[in-house]
């Protein structure tokens, strides 16, 4: 069928593996320079309060302290934000959540910096705390941002709509209506490495920041306006990242701004590192949603109307909410046919941690609702969950809720069928419905999704990658797309190696540096491979053309008859049998004759004065969006995935064990096979946490836990073996046909598990996570105030350093 590949789609090593497994990888905290100071932030004492007075006089006198700064010391813009610029880098008049920074200090040691913080006095006037978005929307609620425009409701800063057909007519045609309320929780990204940066004043003015940063260019823009510097005076260098999952954007921007300000004020390098507790206290989370779903359906299972109203808790600041909720509004009805759709998604300010990008980006929430609704629909009309999805699911040419006609290979039914077949879904689903009474019950559940690839109509979508051949035939590659552990550098390396016919060991990939590569937008939306990879392919092709041209001049053979394979310039001999005595240097059995090594070719190219540098730029195909009508070509292509979960439910304790899992994804083309599998396994594990365990809980704006002793993520003992099936329908838009996998892998595990619980018990869980209490009792239990014997709430413990009675974590 297709062309053979040497690297792409085969099992290849990750380019970052060696450094990571030998401990040589340098993470942000590993960077130290002479004379560095340690920066620290004093954070708010209340989730919502007016700042009356800040007294830093005592703190400033402490020996070893080099700077004590407040919002007044900021030379440029005091706030930042990707859409709505209202996030305080240091709060000036008001604090809006417990993680708000108020005072910044730098000292010669960490200990002195910590001590300094305790000597600062801030007087507050506490304001009413708004912890619940639906309350915050009420007209009599106080406003969290006085100057922010409101959409329809109080504290509501986003309203996205989709309007298609006429839902009134649709409901009139329906035989019955299914109406449900769903709720999801705050989720911590749980990156292994907490936030850390090192900021150094630059020789020519400006600042150089090295750190654990996901979206270097967004952070750079904010640092520049914050310090009144030109972009070329702010250099941000990405260290090896210990995970991000969407989480190292704004929280890192704030840390970059703060450390840079301290560095410029003191003239010395400043290091800032968050403890896990500080990280959980300040960092943003995945949005909790409240979702009202109402579907009109026919007796035969067709859907005549879909009406959705979703409310996202945006927390204290707008952050990525406008974009996150936009993806939700586009995908809120899933890959299912319906003529009449009306969806409204709102984002609302509260005094909780602000919420932003996290793997899935607005899809895990709605997928939970959609896929639960689909199962309810199946139940209602007496079909099985697979049948109902096959009946209503999209195929090529389908028109989405936003009016977009899907012209690519719509593989929804392929992934559904493959997943169901490989897990014996239909048979097991039926058997488990009729299992004999027993305390432990088995269940199987299915969930599928379609997902728009890359940013879509959210904004400019383009990226650049640079391939630079050295005179010895080794290669330096760099890109505006960052690697956070997801494997972007590996995928781009594999593409470059494929195009240039070289082995991976010739490639050195550089970590992203904003001053050396072009602004390629954020590394989000599963766009690394499709955008950065496409740019890498173009860059490599530019270099390849030069090399073949030189090769042709060297050998007198036309460039068309030359190729680069396995580190050699070769003469392709077509399919004709090789005459005796001619080497066949290609393990893929394609006939060819080696003419020169890649090293010789590189040296010759240099000798001839030809450019050995390729810059590839890729701009995404066109998308469109009409905000008023809620219609448009939202994304240039989509991916399709299906998960099947099998569970064992202890009906007397509520404990759910996932015992088997099948995950099928159409990735277009698996550039790095191991990378795709890794994304699928990790995505399932993370989705399992979302479905069963994780919940970042607050009480009146105060987080109840700030470490992994109480915020529980799955361990290896909780994740079952995952059967991953990779489907490859090459897409015209991506490099070698590749699309994406990072977020798709994570977005449907939870509904598959919840549907499996229903199959086992006949009880549906409408609020995530399906923890012990929800599964056993049907609702959540909330610990109020102190826990165990004498424990204070976690955040208080960490903001108030006074020595209280000894207390411990017990799960009382």
């Amino acid at each position: 069928m297709e062309k053979e590949h040497n690297i792409v789609s085969t099992q290849q090593r990750r380019v970052d593996a060696w450094g990571k497994v030998t401990g040589k990888a340098k993470f942000a905290e590993d960077y130290n320079v002479a004379h560095q100071l340690y920066g620290k932030v004093l954070r708010s004492k209340y989730p919502h309060a007016r700042i009356l007075r800040i007294d830093t006089s005592k703190a400033a006198q402490l020996p070893g302290v080099e700077a004590v700064l407040t919002a007044k010391d900021i030379p440029g813009s005091k706030v930042f934000g990707i859409v709505v610029k209202n996030q305080a880098i240091l709060a000036e008049e008001k604090v809006r959540y417990l993680g708000d920074g108020v005072v910044l200090v730098a000292a010669v040691s960490k200990e002195i910096a910590e001590k300094t913080i305790t000597l600062i006095n801030v007087d507050y006037e506490p304001l009413p705390v708004l912890p619940d978005p639906e309350t915050a929307m009420q007209p009599d609620s106080p406003r969290i941002h006085d100057d922010s425009p409101e959409y329809e409701f109080r504290n509501t800063f986003v309203h996205h709509k989709v309007r298609k057909g006429d839902t009134e007519k649709g409901f009139a045609e329906a035989d019955f209506v299914i109406e449900r309320r769903f709720k999801t929780q705050f989720i911590e990204h749980s990156y292994l490495e907490p936030e850390a940066v090192l900021a150094e004043p630059s020789e020519q003015g400006g600042v150089k920041i090295t750190g654990s940063i996901q979206n270097l260019f967004s952070s750079r823009r904010s640092v520049a306006t914050f310090l009144n510097l030109d972009l070329n005076k702010v250099e941000i260098i990405q260290t090896t990242l210990g995970g991000s999952f969407g989480g190292k954007d704004e929280v890192m921007t704030a840390m970059c701004c703060r450390s840079a300000l301290l560095a410029l004020k003191t003239g010395k390098p400043v290091k800032m590192v968050n403890s896990r507790e500080e990280s959980m206290l300040e960092s943003y989370k995945r949005h909790p949603y409240v979702m009202y779903y109402k579907w009109g359906v026919k007796k035969d299972g067709r859907i005549t109307a879909m009406e959705q109203r979703c409310i996202a808790d945006g927390g204290a600041y707008a952050s990525m909410s406008p974009f996150v909720t936009w993806r939700s509004v586009v995908q809120a009805t899933g890959p299912y046919h319906c003529e009449n759709v009306k969806t409204d998604v709102y984002a609302v300010y509260t005094n909780n941690n602000y919420t932003g990008a996290m793997r899935g980006f607005g899809s895990p929430q709605v997928n939970f609702a959609i896929e639960s609704m689909m199962d309810e629909l199946a139940e209602k009309v007496g079909k099985n969950p697979l049948e109902i999805r096959l009946q209503n699911g999209f195929e090529r040419g389908a028109v989405t809720a936003t009016g977009q006609k899907l012209e690519h290979n719509v593989s929804l039914k392929e992934v559904l069928t493959k997943a169901a077949h490989s897990s014996s879904f239909a048979k097991k689903w039926n058997d488990y419905r009729h299992q004999p009474p027993s305390p432990k019950k088995n269940g199987i559940g299915i969930a599928c999704s379609y997902r728009g690839v890359s940013l879509g109509a959210e904004g400019t979508d383009a990226a650049g990658t640079i391939v630079s051949v050295q005179t010895d035939g080794s290669m330096i590659v760099s890109s505006g797309i960052t690697d956070m552990g997801q494997g972007a550098q590996s995928a781009m390396s594999h593409i470059v190696a494929e195009v240039l016919g070289i082995s991976l060991d010739r490639i050195q990939f550089l970590n992203t540096n904003t001053s050396r590569v072009p602004d390629s937008g954020p590394t989000v939306a599963s766009r690394g491979t499709i955008m950065g990879g496409s740019a890498a392919k173009r860059a490599a092709e530019i270099v390849r053309a030069t090399l073949l041209d030189v090769g042709s001049k060297m050998t007198g053979i036309t460039a068309e008859a030359l190729d680069l394979r396995e580190n050699y310039l070769v003469h392709t001999l077509g399919e004709t049998p090789v005459p005796p005595g001619v080497e066949s240097g290609d393990s893929t059995s394609r006939r060819c004759k080696r003419l020169a090594s890649f090293t010789e070719l590189a040296a010759e190219t240099f000798r001839r004065g030809k450019p050995m540098y390729g810059f590839g730029w890729f701009k995404s195909p066109k998308t469109s969006w009409d905000e008023e009508k809620g219609q448009g070509e939202a994304y240039f292509t989509f991916v399709y995935g299906c998960n099947v979960a099998e569970v064992e439910v202890d009906t007397q304790t509520g404990k759910v064990d996932v015992v088997e899992f099948t995950s099928v994804h159409d990735v277009g083309k698996a550039i790095s096979r191991g990378g795709v599998l890794g994304q699928i396994y990790g995505g399932v594990a993370m989705g399992l946490g979302y479905g069963l365990l994780e919940e970042f809980d607050f009480e009146d704006g105060v987080p109840k836990h700030l470490n992994f002793d109480e915020y529980l993520i799955p361990t290896s003992m909780d994740v079952p073996p995952v059967k991953a099936i990779i489907v490859e329908n090459e897409d015209a838009a991506g490099p070698f046909g590749a699309k994406s996998i990072g977020e798709p892998a994570n977005e449907i595990a939870a509904p598959a598990i919840v549907n499996a619980i229903f199959n086992a018990t006949g009880q549906r869980v409408y609020e995530l996570p399906a923890n012990l209490e929800r599964v056993l009792l049907g609702h959540k239990l909330t610990r109020k105030g102190e826990r165990g014997s004498v424990r204070k709430s976690a955040a208080e413990t960490w903001t108030d350093a006074s020595c209280k009675i000894r207390h411990k974590a017990t799960d009382e």
Binding site: T715, S789, T797, D800, C803, I805, T810, D811, E812
Partner: protein
Amino acid sequence: MKPFNYMRATNLHEAIGLLAHHTPNVCLLAGGTDLLIEWRRPSACTPENVIDISALTEMKGIESGNGRIVLKPLTTHAQILKSQAIIESAPLLSVAATVIGSPQIRNRGTVGGNIMNAAACADTVPPLIALNAEVVLQSESERRTLPLHELFLKPYETVARPDEILCEIRFEKLPVKARSSFIKLGRRNALSISRLSVAAVVARDEAGVITNARIVPGATFPRWRRVVEAEKLLVGEKASAELFRAAGDTVSELMIAETGHRWSTEYKEPVIAVLVQRALEQCCR
């Protein structure tokens, strides 16, 4: 973490001397898996003086003989779960050791630390109380032995004085006919604090009549104890689902009587009853 004076004892005698000298501003450090976590908290009361006893070889190991087991306090959970003597004569303790934390925690954490930390969710404590274990506390001035359940005052508080060191845990081997079980319910399958746990021992005669029963729930009562009220129901009876359910219900009722209604009671009330029932069933399978 606040600074403290660190001393590393090389033998038990030295440790006891150091304790006496620094009491009451002193604390023993064994595996550190409870202490180091605690000391990280900004609000922790870090002691002035810390005596590291982890090098005391005479405080490590499991001795088996004369129908008794002597468990030295620095024995790690990993050592307990691998011990053939424990597997044979106190299998419920072996089970408890396997479900503690993770391999790293089991390699580091000690049974003495688990007891002396006195958390309501300590996993070795219910089995040890069900084994009628005694503990030996030693100080410069005295050596005293007391039943393990009398050691505890309330969560995180014991009757041990700051100058005392736990130097021995001992219990009689379970009779050959007795069967035992330990059930732990956590939110996840590893690295999980016990929401609830139950240790049980049941002995039956040839006719299948229960001659001895011990039930010790974990994370249930404010003070650790055997639930004799439920045990009494069992003795003289034959094993049955109804009987075990009644025992479970008794434990559940007593829990509410002693702790009152808390945020978690709605969940714990039915579940502790089920776990007791299951633990007893496991003993009679």
